[in-house]
Symmetry: C2
Subunit: 396 residues, 2 copies
DNA sequence: CGGCCTTCCGTCGAGTGTCAACGAAAGTAG
DNA sequence: CTACTTTCGTTGACACTCGACGGAAGGCCG
């Protein structure tokens, strides 16, 4: 059966595999009950998956008076995902296992404005020593996830008219990788990637989830019904240029006035502080001041939280999320930003929508993007189609 | 094979059927190519579906030099869907065929505040003569769709704390029908239903769609990636209580101030006009005045459009829709309302998001809810699971 | 108008995948 | 150590799917 063809039984082994993707061990009887197929059939399909190397036996289950059932589970280290988080001034590269744990990661300065080839080459140059450290090679990579700081046409993996990334417009990122790694490449914008990363570390209660990145810009990623919502042009969640009430007369780099980003982003808060004679230029400076207990910085951050809360109150009415995570550099200002957000949200939004709503700072911190890039890659590679493609590749 | 069991071959006939749901005729070869299974197998499955009565032969295709291929298609009148649109003061009942055409419909005054039993009984009492008019009976009904003017827990079909519907809270609507019609019952809130109805009459370009109802209240239905987005508590799209800039000091019935609904709803515009000494009480009065060319009414409607546009500009940034339809009674004021909306939207929203965005009045008018209720019912009944359930029911 | 060609339909045997049953295996309890 | 319980791997029966084949239905041409 494995002679040049497929090892997967009825091609339904990939469906069975979906149950094991969470990494938890299961007995054959569990799987038979969950899928409705006979135990003997489950056994056959597990053999196929085992021969692919994706699953393996783990310690047997507890005996209930007879022979203890054997248990199988995903082998998390069977393959790796390569996660690449491209920022404006840095690139972060990591390797994750199949459940999304970041095994190794490394950051390096790199200007996205240098164009695709230098940045992606650097990312690969970082990845190789990481692979070596784990004793693996590029063949161990089952998929690549890439986050870029601008709008991306997800289906093709090409950036679409990114404002901050000269030379990247319509560049075929998956095509570039094709010469270097024989694995599928998924590309999405950095906020979506971070949303996926943070979402993956929350429980199932976060089925309707909003991730907000507050840094140099402000953006959001929407996960609804377990799916990332990208919108018609892939720019859903672009909340940085929604007008807020405090914004009359405040000009934004987008050419409009009163945008959220012009009031609540890191540079905007820093500019506010400079007007008070405080030396601050970036989000990082603001966070340092807040950490140091500077009252004026705290007040400014809280006001930024209120501005953000105004927009989030509207988004809560639209989307009715159950969890909102706030990440990005400014999230390091922690509770002060959130206090402002909550103040306005609980005043403005409808009680039913806020009753079970959690608003919190992102748990994943600066690893959100990397984790998300890994999750995006893994999600694709371990999908039924991905498993079948892998099967055809292995038994070619 | 049909002796007490299932007529559907490998239970995959229901998958094949999905291709035929659009009502277009297809040849066996078409279907074989589309599904990847052998022509002979397709033939067998079509036999099973034919014996269910859902599909049938239509005029053969054009010969390409040999025997012309036979073609099969959905029989749209094989079954009916019962559509019920419950409004605050009226109930509208209709019968649709399997592609969602409304065959007959009737409206009757009915106060939703009378409670579930009187309203639903009335709906059935209207439905029976309609059925008779078509020469059918209740057994012809394959599913029931119900729209209610308040939040609904979709999975269970129970209203959840509706403000305007005393006696309906947590009422088991599908359970009520169980004694009267042996068909699945789907319940959703009226705005979602209208969104489904309007969406079904737009082309595939409306994959990311926003429907806005402007009447006594203001609400929205979101369809993203082809799926209706209901949010964590099923109250997504509740945009009536988002604050707008013109709202300082304007009290809303929700207890807050500055809500969109307090400025741009039918009653709110009517109240504005009364301040100018014009006799107007409801949305209907406002629309009449606009139709009559009353300049003050036109100006008020346009201003309401601007207020709405402010909220929609934000929603465009969040969701990045490709089409926005505006329905509800106030939509009858047509271009004047839209002019205000467009004025603000094109000023505020980002160019990329508005570049390919269509903003229009709902094509389906006051039939939106009815069509949507029918589509909801049909969508469920003709899904793979629905077809299998039907099969088991017929060949029990 | 009849013969020939093209294309499609229905049937039938071969092959494959799935299932329930059965005996062997691997534990626990006394 | 024996009896009992539970699970595992195998195996033959059965159902489903596929490709092939002969017949059927229509167009084309002499």
């Amino acid at each position: 059966m494995t002679d040049g063809g497929s090892a997967l039984g009825g091609a339904d082994a990939s469906e069975l595999f979906q149950l094991l993707r969470d990494g938890l061990p299961r007995t054959v009887a569990d799987l038979a009950a969950a899928t409705g197929v006979a135990r003997s059939t489950v056994s056959l399909r597990l053999d196929a998956l085992t021969s692919l190397g994706l699953i393996g036996p783990v310690d047997p289950g507890l005996s209930t008076g007879g022979r203890p059932p054997r248990r199988v589970a995903l082998l998390p280290e069977a393959r790796l995902a390569l996660a690449i988080d491209v920022g404006a001034s840095h690139v972060q590269v990591g390797l994750t296992n199949l459940v999304g744990d970041v095994l190794l990661r490394r950051r390096a300065p790199s200007s996205v404005a240098d164009g695709p080839d230098p940045v992606l080459s650097l990312a690969l140059a970082i990845a190789d020593p990481l692979l070596e450290e784990l004793g693996r090679d590029r063949d161990a990579i089952i998929a690549v996830g890439v986050g870029l700081p601008g709008p991306v046409h997800f289906e093709t993996g090409r950036p679409s008219k990114p404002p901050l990334m000269p030379g990247w417009d319509a560049f075929d990122v998956p095509g570039w990788f094709r010469d270097h790694i024989a694995a599928p490449v998924l590309v999405d914008n950095d906020v979506n990637i971070m949303a996926l990363g943070e979402h993956s570390r929350l429980g199932a209660e976060a089925g309707h989830f909003l991730f907000v990145k507050v840094a140099t810009g402000i953006g959001a990623g929407i996960i609804s019904g377990g799916l990332l919502q990208r919108g018609a042009q892939g720019i859903a969640g672009d909340i940085g240029h929604v007008r807020v009430s405090r914004g009359a007369g405040v000009l934004c780099r987008c050419g409009n006035e009163g945008c959220l980003e012009a009031l609540a982003s890191g540079p905007a808060v820093a500019a506010d502080l400079r007007e008070d004679g405080i030396d601050a230029a970036t989000a990082r400076d603001v966070v340092s001041l807040v950490s140091a207990g500077d009252l004026r910085a705290i007040r400014a951050v809280r006001q930024a939280g209120r501005d953000l809360g105004e927009v989030l109150a509207a988004s809560i009415s639209f989307l009715n999320p159950s969890v909102i995570s706030i990440g990005g550099q400014m999230a390091a200002a922690g509770e002060h930003l959130l206090a402002g957000v909550r103040e306005v949200v609980y005043q403005r939004a409808m009680p039913l929508a806020t009753r079970n709503l959690q608003i919190m700072t992102a748990r994943t911190g600066d690893r959100a993007g990397l984790i998300g890039a890994g999750m995006l890659a893994i999600h694709h590679a371990l999908s039924p189609q991905g498993i079948q493609a892998l099967d055809e590749k292995v038994f070619s």
